[in-house]
Symmetry: C2
Subunit: 146 residues, 2 copies
């Protein structure tokens, strides 16, 4: 099982918004072209980002604005906005271990904190990167392409 591609798509979206904002109006159709998927997929992701207050979307006209300074939006913020997982648990626990078994009725207590720590380590790593880093690295990389 993997974390949805919607997360990398969201990061792709932010990169495009910043990279193209002076040259094109960045619409869901335009983004769908760069990402190579369906505009409706993009709109759904944009809606999630809007619900998390990360962006503002202009209705009618179209166009996307990032609500906060790029240096204050981390990959983790994007991840949280996108991943709809129930109580945000990365690991799926087997539902109903047997309460009559000493192991079965204690396995949750034994594992929960360790799984949470592993998830936390991943999330802390995501917090290290901001959208500003991403934008700057994108500009650098594209500049050296020529």
């Amino acid at each position: 099982m993997q974390i949805t591609s919607r997360f990398t798509i969201a990061l792709h979206i932010f990169t495009c918004v910043e990279y193209f904002k002076d040259d094109h109006k960045v619409t869901s159709d335009f983004l769908a072209g760069s990402i190579n998927t369906n505009p409706v997929i993009i709109r759904k992701i944009l809606t999630q980002l809007k619900n998390a207050d990360l962006i503002t979307i202009a209705r009618g006209t179209g166009g996307i604005t990032v609500n906060r300074p790029l240096s204050e939006v981390t990959f983790y913020d994007v991840y949280q906005a996108i991943e709809p997982v129930e109580n945000s648990a990365l690991f799926h626990f087997h539902e109903s271990p047997n309460p009559n078994c000493p192991v079965g009725r204690n396995i949750h207590t034994l594992l929960d904190d360790k799984l949470k720590a592993a998830q936390g380590a991943m999330e802390d790593e995501l917090k290290k990167h901001t959208l500003e880093d991403l934008k700057n690295e994108a500009l650098d990389l594209i500049a050296t392409e020529k």
Copy 2:
């Protein structure tokens, strides 16, 4: 998206094997009872653990032996044995960004190392815990239950 419950089931299995080994023969049926699932599910997971050389399964008789000292088997070893994900990538990247778009053809380069670092942080955390820790904590916890 979440990591399969097969991972927590595998840890549950190891705990049972150690906890019950002197009192019961630990068969897939017995384990299925503690975990509350189907014996075939258990056997499939056992096969994965066997293929990773973590355990030996006695055919005919039944019964499970851990191949290495418990202190030398980490949660990460179990995780690797269980998760069959293609090239072990935790994050699923959108398949085919547009190569004609400067962002599209560079997005992989921009994100890959960061995603890998996040995954690595999670895996390193899993490496901190061994099956021996788990067994000892289980014994402690069950002892204090009474």
